[in-house]
Symmetry: C2
Subunit: 450 residues, 2 copies
């Protein structure tokens, strides 16, 4: 397969994993002196610019070699304000995309698209790159017709319009959302090549909404008697999940409409979704249309045959609610290439469904020795935390790992530790330490260690 990095051609976002031959060609081009390679998007810039007919390198003005002409953008008038009432990223970032994995699922409506974590910074996930997980596709629902019913063990069942919900006092909080199946392929040591595919069912946003507790109190609930709520979605899959009442009572569960300052995106549940901080993503019911209050779990289709873990003793572990403490190095990570020895900032993300990340350690020798990483403040509860550590690469093979500890004292386990408890037949809830092998060539690969 031809590499899409040959200069002069427009680079299209690859649908598939970057193949081995493509990697070889990219490395060869890079070693020919094109040093702008660490970020794949920059490597594409030459191709994109050539295709778009952008200005050539500065040429002497009036034939005098001592006078260089400024680039066009330093001389010309430029684009006007509000060229777009809603702007978009640079064309040079066209390769930064969420991606699905062809063949992963039978249909693309019951499927996943992965966030390109290796290309992101900080903790906010750009809403256009938020991962997706749908069971029966997504819709752009008319908010003026959408309703939320609250029924079950309540004094008086209520039906809310969006306007009614949005008039109530709201809160805004930064939280991660992670699919219970994130990193699932690695149970079977599939070794998918990039961080996007190993960990990309993960995103983080500032969510705005009304605490579910407020709506329950308006409907009249008895917290001593009713210890569970059911969330039901309006999409074709009628997603239904039990959520424990303690998380609702604390005010943490939100009926949310805001995502990073604007309304939710349609793929993320517009106009309304449940936000259950720390709980696996499936319980954050999208297109939320009903909340039922009850005194026992509902054992719905979405929590009895799916999202359960087969334990070594043959039983199924159900209702695994919270995403345990986890981390991943996003750079250097699988599929990237280090072109020279020297300084690198190892950086990545850490999170815990139980609260705040307390510490992150980094290893460059496959877990034999560890040192603490810096955590970007402020560290927020049940939210992504960005970490970084300094590293000087000496050109020899290295295995890079991160290991997070949360405020409960829980330490992210190695694969060996996790399998000792969970066996080898799990699909979900894989929070093991991720390893990236840096080869002498500079290529970075997904490996499993310990």
């Amino acid at each position: 397969m031809q590499s899409s990095l040959t200069p002069g051609r427009v680079r299209k976002a690859p649908e598939n994993f970057l193949d081995g031959e493509g990697i070889q060609q990219a490395v060869a081009e890079a070693r020919q002196g094109r040093r702008d390679f660490l970020r794949g998007a920059f490597a594409a810039a030459a191709g994109v610019a050539a295709a778009a007919g952008a200005a050539a390198a500065p040429a002497p003005a009036d034939g005098d070699p001592n006078i260089l002409q400024l680039p066009e953008h330093s001389r010309g008038l430029g684009q006007p304000v509000a060229t777009d009432g809603y702007g978009k990223p640079s064309k040079y970032e066209a390769n930064v995309q969420r991606r699905t994995s062809p063949g992963l699922t039978q249909t693309r409506q019951a499927s996943v698209s992965f966030a390109p974590l290796q290309s992101l910074f900080g903790i906010v996930t750009p809403s256009g790159l938020h991962f997706e997980r749908h069971h029966q596709g997504w819709w752009d629902i008319d908010p003026s017709k959408h309703r939320l019913m609250v029924n079950g063990q309540v004094k008086a069942a209520k039906v809310f319009t969006m306007d009614e919900i949005m008039r109530l006092p709201s809160v805004s909080r930064f939280h991660f959302i992670e699919c219970g199946a994130n990193t699932g392929m690695e149970w079977g040591n599939v070794a998918v090549p990039t961080c996007q595919y190993t960990h990309g069912m993960l995103s983080c946003s500032e969510f705005t909404g009304v605490p579910l507790r407020t709506l329950l109190e308006m409907a009249g609930v008895d917290f001593r008697k009713s210890r569970f709520v059911l969330g039901e979605g309006a999409d074709g899959s009628s997603m239904t999940r039990t959520v424990p009442m303690d998380l609702v009572e604390s005010g943490e569960v939100l009926v949310a409409y805001g995502q990073n300052g604007e309304m939710l995106r349609p793929e993320n549940g517009y106009p309304l979704r449940l936000v259950a901080p720390g709980v696996q993503g499936v319980s954050w019911v999208k297109y939320l249309r009903r909340i039922e209050v009850g005194d026992q779990p509902w054992n719905t289709k979405d929590e009895t045959v799916h999202y359960v873990d087969l334990m070594p003793d043959g039983t199924h572990r159900q209702y695994t609610s919270l995403q345990e403490c986890k981390s991943v190095v996003t750079t250097p990570s699988g599929g990237q290439v280090l072109l020279d020895k020297g300084f690198y900032s190892i950086t990545g993300l850490a999170w815990s469904g139980r609260g705040k990340v307390k510490a992150v350690d980094v290893s460059v020798d496959g877990g034999r020795s560890w040192r603490p990483a810096r955590l970007q403040e402020p560290v927020m509860s049940k939210c992504l935390a960005r970490f970084s550590a300094d590293w000087v690469w000496d050109g020899k093979p290295a295995i890079i790992q991160s290991r997070a500890t949360d405020e409960t004292g829980y330490v992210q386990p190695s694969y060996r530790q996790l399998r000792a408890v969970r066996g080898t037949r799990s699909i979900y809830h894989n929070n093991a330490i991720q390893s990236w092998l840096v080869e002498e060539s500079g290529e970075v690969k997904n490996v499993q260690v310990g």
Copy 2:
């Protein structure tokens, strides 16, 4: 001018202020029982849906009036994952746009577009809605060709590529950016109709970048001798601004490439801009190409004839660096309509260029009495803070205000207090208390009080 809210027609984003006749028609339609009006986008939903041929209201199935058919989105397959590798907002949000003000400037390249604060939540500004202020338009610059030079009073001048900058240890911080001219029209009591136009030269993002201090240390700087840096941009206006060294020495000034988790947007300076927390927006030089280190201010064209305030004694106040503590109620705000009496959550934003917001008070009687509002935690330094306060509207006229206090003890002034110090000939740096008059009809208007 015809209202764009007539049911059945596609609603286009209005280019101009919503005219008086348009407001009257909208209010009349709302009073005919269409209660979904508080958010203008929802009002458009009926028109958009009709135009797009969306499913009609549920119809009886098999002619049996007791069985309603589910809407199409609850029955059908829906859209696949990664329909867009980079997603976009709901079509029902098409009216949430940044807008320019026709006639405000001679050209649209030396102009402004305003963020729609009245439609936003939390503190993050969606990057597509970030305000713009350009002096000679904007460009989408090839990052592989972009360079940053550091020269002046340094041991050895340096030139950095984007890759070299992005390999260095970085930090990520949430900061507001406000144009020095924000709210400028209100000096002259122009009373522009909406919050978008009174306060919309304001946005907030998670910025990622390298502390400028790191780059200066690499070039070799003497902090005792050199107390100023100059930032220079690569756009046609060659924007150049002096920044005091103390902000650089503290590590706060960043050479930034990340905005809300992805690369900067081209309109916001892709691939590199200065981030000078708390300083007025013009100093956050976009398309940053050069940093010069020196021992006195440069008195550039961009800081001698512009961005100065004419004081009552006839002198010009130069180098007003920090944006003083300020706040605004974003809902209810000018141009909105309250359709009925009852509960409303008064909400808005507060910020200070000197550090953290300490407190926000809200008044509904034009400043005669005040009560504290809730601040959304965590409150971050030189960053937007979201506040809210409960209010029950009794249907009588009310004047809503917010007043912020920052951690230095500085209290946001009224117009009377501000004019007493600054006179009446200022253009910039208007941080006075904003008033919104709620009339008995429910219409909300921009007024100046005190």
